[in-house]
Amino acid sequence: MIRLFKTAALASGAALLASSVAASTLVYCSEGSPEGFDPALYTSGTSFDASSRNVYNRLVEFERGTTQTIPSLAESWDVSEDGMEYTFHLRQGVKFQKTDFFTPTRDFNAEDVIFSFERQRDPEHPFHLASGGTWEYFNGMSMPDLVKSVEKIDDYTVKFSLTRPEAPFIANIAMDFASILSAEYAAQLEEAGTLELLNQQPVGTGPFTFVGYQKDAVIRYRANEDYWRGKAEIDNLVFAITPDASVRYQKLKAGECHVMPYPNPADLEAMKSDPDVNLMSQEGLNTGYLAYNTQMAPFDDARVRKALNMAINKQAIIDVVFQGAGKAAKNPIPPTIWSYNDAVEDDPYDPEAAKALLEEAGVSGLEMNVWAMPVQRPYNPNARRMAELIQEDFAKVGVKANIVSYEWGEYLSRSKEIDRDGAILLGWTGDNGDPDNFLAVLLGCDAVGGSNRAQWCNETFDALIQKAKLTSDKAERTKLYEEAQVVFKDQAPWATIAHSVVFEPIRNEVGNYKIDPFGGHIFYGVSLEN
């Protein structure tokens, strides 16, 4: 009997290989099941991988492997003088995917753009409530306040009017929630009274056509023959849903999949020495930090904050908490974001200097709270352990730290309070690769009492980031953000702790795979050797 299975296992392995000669099939061992296939309804990367990143396109997209925006379904766009009107010129001759459940009769045009945004924006739209949708990202990026109207000028021109100038708008509409769906397909579903299928059977203009999904097991796609950038190099794409990281690695080793995300840190050494595996790595689009409450004494004194920053041994944190899968952070934005100021010098680890500076600030016998998150995050895999290390470091300079923690929802809301005590461990994962998404959201004056956990409002810093919002000249914006990072370092509202390092093991036969800084898994442009 065992021999029979062995033969079957070998046969299926051989057949998989054989079929990859005739028609190449790339198997991706994904980490979980998508919540659905409408990217505007969800916020998880797992759902985006299964939909927006391989099935859909957007007006503007991020160039694969970077945070730079490039034209996609919009060939070009004009911005009005006052920065309040964006006119997009759409690409012609783009076909929607033909599937078993939908055959398009027309090419992509302005109707599809209007549909894709209005369903999220207009509460009266038939698709707005039908899906039970909360349109998390559309709301999260403040699009309802920002977008005044979306108008069709002609079949291939669309105008967005904004309520205020906002340079990061282009990066916003390159995000997954802004994927372009087919208005014609939606109309067909509306007529049949099956609106919910929009979220179950996706139709897009992207490189891969959805074939089928067996819940929690497998998702199948085939290359879109009519893809406007040219057909993908691989013929079939399969997501084999494999929640356990060690099992994913066993599957990769056995040749049952070609690419896997999120390896166990404990498996990294074995992967490095595995001859069949190429272990790729890159800094993640995130920053883990310790935010002081800059409105409460003694943390309202920048010298105290600087001194505490100098007391923290970051290398020990990288070694112990990240087990090497992290990089010490010196700026509030990660190095993969444009305008990262590499000239900034980090506060050195120097307990003696820290003590002296505390003395100079007249602080002695300080006792404070350090908040540790109850959950694991890419930017902080073990907050409790990190807090303990910081506690020891602070003790060395005569500061007594008490570690506190709350349930996650409670933690997030309590830490917003302006009179909150001590310093809090938290972090941020970038949404759109725009520096504004870190600097304004986490450190702007508007965000005090909200996502600005340091409750830090610095006039110089805020003037710089506000100015950068108003201009769409990227060189100009880069300069302003670089300057803002210098102010940040000098004032030290946070101890910047670390950026995670993302590892992705792929099999050697996979060619031209790139790690996506946004954490996505994109298979257009990827090849598979025999």
Binding site: A9, A217, A240, D244, Q250, W408
Partner: protein, 335 residues
Amino acid sequence: MFSFLLRRLLTFVPTFFGVTIVAFAFIRLLPGDPILLLAGERGVSPERYNELAAQFGFDRPMWVQYFEYIGGIFQGDLGTSFVTKKPVLDEFFALFPATLELAICAITLAVVLGIPAGVIAAVNRGKFFDQALMSTALVGYSMPIFWWALLLIIVFSSGLGWTPVSGRISLLYFFDTPTGFMLIDSLMSGQKGAFVSAISHLILPTIVLATIPLAIIARQTRSAMLEVLGEDYVRTARAKGLAPLVINGVHALRNAMIPVITVIGLSVGTLLAGAILTETIFSWPGIGKWMVDSIFRRDYQVVQGGLLMIATIVMVVNLTVDVLYGLINPKIRKG
């Protein structure tokens, strides 16, 4: 027999309502607000929070929410998942056959191996075979499931290449699954090799899930058999000159079965609990992982609906066990 059945069915009703209250309260008593958890670090404005709470009905009084839940149950509606926006019952029935298929295979394996092992151990009490079997059972009972599963994968899948690492069927096969039971669907698909592939995918998860019930059943059978073998009527049967096989296999085993059936019935709960880990490791698309994810997301509707369904299944199984007792032992149905 009829009044016995009726009495048992009547105890079912309060238990059912008890379960609805526990399931409803459990997830709400856990600290953690589903809207805040969904928003994460990004946060949510108070206005938006109220909008969402109204959209999902979280703003209404608890008792209103509870009665809506109960009302829904009687209309066969367990609500809609807060996260996936799909009806809870649809999700349950899409996933449950996978769990059931695995559980049936595991309990079958546990019974088929566990009862004979227990009988043999009892008959050879104190001898090498008994000690070897019972030590093995103790090891099986104490082993952490995830460790055992990974060990099997590393040896049999990655090392020897005898079994696939995970999943329910090879990715080569692609067919509709009308029943949700991969063994049946693969046969019906008519695709060559699909059935063998489905079986080969079942082997390791079945072994892992069966390990604990197998150990419990073997130990229970042994101790029940030992007790029965010491009874007067067994001595009489021996004295009468009956063949040992008849004494052990017919007279003793039948009477030893009562506690064993209890244990088998109770293992259904254990199987469903064990399924959570087993399913996660073997990427087995069942309800175990679905429930765990939902608890973490505070997906109220899924947790209260899923718990209710699982509890109902366990109750039905226990009811069946009670009825089986009655069939085996007339004293119980009269008592």
